[in-house]
Symmetry: C2
Subunit: 346 residues, 2 copies
């Protein structure tokens, strides 16, 4: 089969590799139908985060089960499945508590020659990890793209909104107009029922999409006085702030606009965060919360919301390419020509 | 009257100053019966935090109302009262939400020649700020000392425990065996009903007091492997961690022993905190929460617990001095000869 292999900075290639095989009785083999490129993939693509040449890439995919090991109980060949970006056993205390990203037996895609931007993937701990798609979800391009969004960005945005303390009738500010920030807006407006959603970004067309997703106020982060405007509009700051960029500037803005007693939640790899003003946390009773999203916990309910039509995250994919053009997809995201790329297996 | 005045590093003096007078119709004048020295007073006493020579000191006192302004509705001369360490109006949105330390009209003791380590104090916004003591509370030295503890340390420890997410039947770790840490232990064990309370300090007699207050496990922070021992004892870390020291070493320990998905709450002035491991917050879904305690919110219920005998924080005061020996009290706390000093007016 073919899979995406990292060769060096800004050099990924779709090339022939060994077919995956069942190694453990809890494994499944899944034929990939759609895969995605994540904003966090750009960290190694750009050479900011170490990645060893020869390693596979990708951690977001949906597909069809081709084979299962002898101990897999809940899946069988032919099932359409969604794979969250973290592998989890589904049985340990952390998994039962809904924190599958801290699973005692967790693994990561990309390890062990097992990336998701490939024609097929070996899925460890298949019963714990995979979620069978709702009936009919695989029949429509829109719901299929939404299923792919549930692998990471939709669940991550939703986790961020939940952990920031957003609630029905309340305010939330979302900093970042990438796919995660946009999905956070969608969750806040449509799932949580926040009354006012303040979205901050710097791409006009993405802020337009934020409006479509339910943002009630949008701000260009490059305009002077954004913090003062949000503080004014919220009467002293937003109790819930989702930081969905991952850099120092964005964290600083989040801490400026959070209401005393409120929460700043960051959900992306904190690649370039270095400082926090402890005295501001202290004086204002603010919580700074981080968290890689346990998207596995949210897939069932979010899938219901997709199928009922309450949410449609599929527009975050604004560039569709065949899987064998994965390298073009990375370049498009690196150059900000695309928010997020959906790759289709032929 | 006489009041404590800061003259320079390690130089406070009890000296004659002008008597306080009612300036605004919402003021009260309170004759001080007991005042305390706070661990945070040591920051300026030691020259670490700027303090201008000539400024008054002290922010913890109880006393008897001597006079009230024309707009004071809930108090009258002769009332025994408890003063929280923050002045608040009791009517703004933050006060109504129980976050009186973010009061829109809040002030601090010490400002405007109005320190609490004095024979009398002018209390701004008296209706919002002061709490009338329960009947009989002023009759016993033990309950009177407990009332003084409600000005700051008992409410601060309790706030820390609540905001760390401690709950009945759960675990909490408390780092620091000063008065706030000890009060946190007391709150966790007796008010919240935590099942296991892990107390970390480095003074054997204070850890003994922690045991008396309800700690189920105690650790000397100078022993190697404290973090590993607590992680082992809790099966992966404590979901709730109260950091009650305020330095980098203590914060680092807190982040080591917090369970994935848990909260580290710090309640003291973060005088020497400089760094936080953002990636650890992210990977483990940990909340770092800061917060100067809105003790005003907790005084009524904690006062009930004192009067019912459920809690007795008075042993945190291990040195009693007359008010005119306030300078000796500072020296005793500076030299760690006392956990906390209670000063009695003659």
């Amino acid at each position: 089969m073919k899979a995406t292999v990292y060769h060096g900075t800004r050099d990924v290639r779709f090339e022939t590799v060994a077919d995956p095989v069942l190694r453990r009785p809890t494994d499944a083999i899944v034929r990939v139908t759609r895969a995605a490129i994540c904003g966090s993939d750009l960290w190694f693509y750009r050479g900011i985060r170490p990645w060893t040449p020869g390693e596979r890439t990708g951690h977001e995919f949906i597909g069809i089960v081709e084979a299962v090991g002898g101990e897999v109980r809940t899946l069988r060949a032919g099932d359409a499945v969604i794979a969250p970006f973290a592998i989890s056993d589904g049985t340990c205390g952390f998994c039962k508590a809904g924190l599958q990203t801290s699973c005692l037996h967790g693994e990561a895609w990309g390890d062990d020659a097992n990336g998701a931007q490939a024609q097929a993937v070996r899925v460890p701990l298949a019963d714990g990890t995979l979620v069978r798609m709702a009936d009919g979800m695989a029949n429509e391009p829109r719901t299929l793209a939404s299923a792919l969004a549930l692998c990471d960005v939709m669940g991550t945005g939703h986790h961020g909104v939940v952990m920031a303390g957003a609630h029905a009738g309340g305010d939330i500010a979302v900093i970042g107009d990438g796919a995660v920030g946009l999905c956070g807006v969608l969750s806040a407006a449509k799932v949580i029922g926040a009354e006012r959603v303040f979205a901050v970004g710097h791409h006009p067309h993405r802020l337009d999409l934020a409006r479509t997703f339910g943002a009630t106020h949008t701000y260009n982060s490059h305009d002077a006085g954004v913090a003062a405007q949000i503080i004014e509009a919220t009467g002293g700051g937003s109790a819930a702030v989702l930081e969905a960029v991952g850099n120092q500037e964005s964290l600083d803005l989040a801490l400026q606009i959070v209401r005393p007693g409120g929460t700043v939640m960051f959900v992306g790899v904190p690649a370039t965060m270095e400082r926090v003003d402890f005295r501001a946390l202290f004086t204002n009773n603010v919580a700074l919360r981080g968290g890689v999203a346990p998207v596995r916990a949210y897939i069932p309910s979010l899938m219901d919301h997709v199928m009922s039509g309450r949410i449609d995250p599929s527009p975050v994919f604004d560039l569709a390419l065949p899987l064998d053009r994965v390298a073009d997809g990375y370049a498009a995201m690196d150059e900000r020509r695309a928010v997020k790329v959906i790759l289709s297996a032929s």
